[in-house]
Amino acid sequence: MASRVIMPKLTDSMEEGVVVKWRKAEGERVESGDVLAEIETDKAVMDLEAFASGTLRKILVPEGTTVPSGALIGIIGEPDEDIREIMSPSPPPSRPAERAKAAVSPAEPVAEGEAPASPRVRTLARARDIDLRAVKGSGPGGRIVERDLEPFLTKKDQPAVREILLSQMRKAIVRMTTQSKAPVPHFYVTIEVDMAEGLGVVEESKKPPAGASVSINHLIIAAAARALKQHPGINAAFAGETIKVFSGIDIGIAVALDDGLIVPVLRDCGEKTLTQIAEEERALVLRAKNRDLSPEEYTGATFLISNLGQYDVESFSAVILPPAAAVLAVGSARKVPVVRDGRVEAGCRMKVTLSCDHRVIDGAAAAQFLGTFRHALERAREL
């Protein structure tokens, strides 16, 4: 039976793909698993494998053409098969995985001699794809009741009826992080910063009659902005055929919300004083927490900072959110023993980890950037 070859949807964000090259010609024999064509997505060029064996009867899309995911691009069938019907536009058949799932659906009526199950159990079994023939009932007459499903449920206190639908924010986080972590080759560099002077600056700023107080976060933003100025290669983005280097330093700051997070962007940090940064950051974060931001205020960061310092975290690695090519993950400033002039004394250190997109940034560049960052932050009074 003839089989449709369609443009695959390889990521959530993939709306279309380019047929770069057909590796089989019309009329050529193909086996299931053979590479049929090379497909370029927004992220990479990938092989398209045949799902069926037969003859590549028809190539419908010439090389170099862009078509939407799901579009018919070819037909595999027997050499003499009539393929006119299958070439007519119709929705692609459900994928094999979905069909397999339907086949074992426990929604079928319980056959004679099988144990009865409560309606709630049937609902849960349908939702969780549990085969009730494998469950032993403990209720009256062997009735399968909710507690009998416990071994099959991952979380007992979260039955199907309490499944939480993805919020728009959660969907966005899913999309952004998987689109980043899968295709972007991350690597990580961690350093330690002496925070003695920085903490001093924060403390002094709280005392009257000084103006707006500054936080560690403000110092980190200011130090990062200074380091980015000296290392523009970090303030950059991968763009397929090119690397974009940004002149403006727009720093995205991860802000935790009850049900997710948002990354408002502080624009032009390279041109701002510490006081300006402090004031603007405070206002921006407040509006982020009130969910008062417009989309342009949380997109287009050229560099990212994620600070878990307030949660007593030693260090962590963050996921890069494109188009930025790096994110700085900040741990807590902690009192630790340090060695100075051969003697152990009390010090204050903070670990920061830079996650880098290796397509844009190499290890040495990351280390040099972090060196400048540390130098700036350890001289916080000059920021």
Binding site: S118, P119, R120, R122, G139, V145
Partner: protein, 325 residues
């Protein structure tokens, strides 16, 4: 502010009578004797005999009289000494109060409240210990309310008086002395809105009027076994707040309804049927009922206690709903 159930009713009736001079109280012993259960204490002094009216022992007569007054534009509150005696007034309640609006094509309405205690107290005998709420709930055109707490009694009697339709308002002798917080001043709790009296996740316990107190005590004891009971009080029995009841049943999957009335064609049967329609697919077992025994109330105290649902029977039903021995 703390008040007894009795005082809460007194406050609300007084506030409504002050607010609206069309409101008056009529019944046996409501004026000079200040009510068989002292709900109308001080009313004769404040409002005088034209608005606080003592009647002979003639339930059918004075209920009919009040229904006529309501049709003519007044807003009577009829006190029945207990709902056992309201049986005598059923013809007026069922055939006139409940139907006049419908049969006059909306030209007439009957803004009346018929109130008094239902259910058993102690050793009042078979004829004076009945829970007849299901009788009234059966009739289209009547609203039926049965609050359990002073707070709810105050807010619901206010709404009942302000409602333009006949409301049967069922109190309980054993609730009159119970204490609880009530709101200051006048407030109204809308009719037809249930309340979750105790949140929980494992089983839903539906109970109203006196049985709410039994359910709450059972829930407290079950919590010591690690069973989290959600106790829901419908408060208004008709119209029933099925949205709230169904949401709880859907969440827990196990439902027990507690009522003091008889089991056959009782209110719990109606609640169960309504829930089956809405949440069948989320139930982990049949809805269970704890009801009064299917007998005339015995006079002997030990047998009377055995006939009325108690904490142990509720706990046993919850265990059964959870498939525990």
């Amino acid at each position: 502010m703390k008040a007894t159930y009795r005082e809460a009713l007194n406050q609300a009736l007084r506030e409504e009578m002050r607010r609206d001079d069309r409101v008056f109280l009529i019944g046996e012993d409501v004026a000079s004797y200040q009510g068989a259960f002292k709900v109308s204490k001080g009313f004769l002094e404040e409002f005088g005999p034209r608005r606080v009216v003592d009647t002979p022992i003639t339930e059918l007569g004075f209920t009919g009289l009040a229904i006529g007054a309501a049709m003519a534009g007044l807003r009577p509150v009829v006190e029945v000494m207990t709902f056992n005696f309201a049986i005598l007034a059923l013809d007026q309640i069922v055939n006139n109060a409940a139907k006049v609006r419908y049969m006059s094509g909306g030209q007439l309405s009957v803004p009346i409240v018929i109130r008094g205690p239902g259910s058993a107290a102690h050793q009042l005998g078979a004829q004076h210990s009945q829970s007849l709420e299901a009788w009234f709930c059966h009739v289209p055109g009547l609203k039926v309310v049965a609050p359990a707490t002073p707070y709810d009694a105050k807010g619901l009697i206010t709404s009942a008086i302000r409602d333009d339709n006949p409301v049967v308002f069922i109190e309980a002798q054993l609730l009159y002395p119970t204490q609880g917080e009530v709101g200051d001043g006048d407030y109204a709790i809308p009719l037809g809105v249930a309340e979750i009296k105790r949140p929980g996740t494992d089983v839903t316990l539906i109970a109203y009027s006196k049985m709410l107190l039994v359910a709450l005590e059972a829930a407290e004891r079950l919590a010591q076994e690690g069973i989290q009971v959600e106790v829901v009080d419908p408060r208004t029995l008709r119209p029933l707040d099925l949205t709230t009841l169904a949401a709880s049943a859907r969440k827990t999957g196990k439902v027990v309804v507690v009522e003091e009335g008889w089991p056959f064609a009782g209110l719990g049967a109606q609640i169960a049927e309504s829930l089956y329609q809405r949440v069948f697919d989320y139930l982990d077992g049949p809805i269970l009922r704890v009801t009064g025994r299917d007998v005339p109330m015995p006079y002997a105290r030990n047998l009377e206690d055995a006939a009325i649902p108690d904490v142990n029977r509720v706990i046993a039903a919850v265990h059964q709903a959870l498939y525990r021995k």
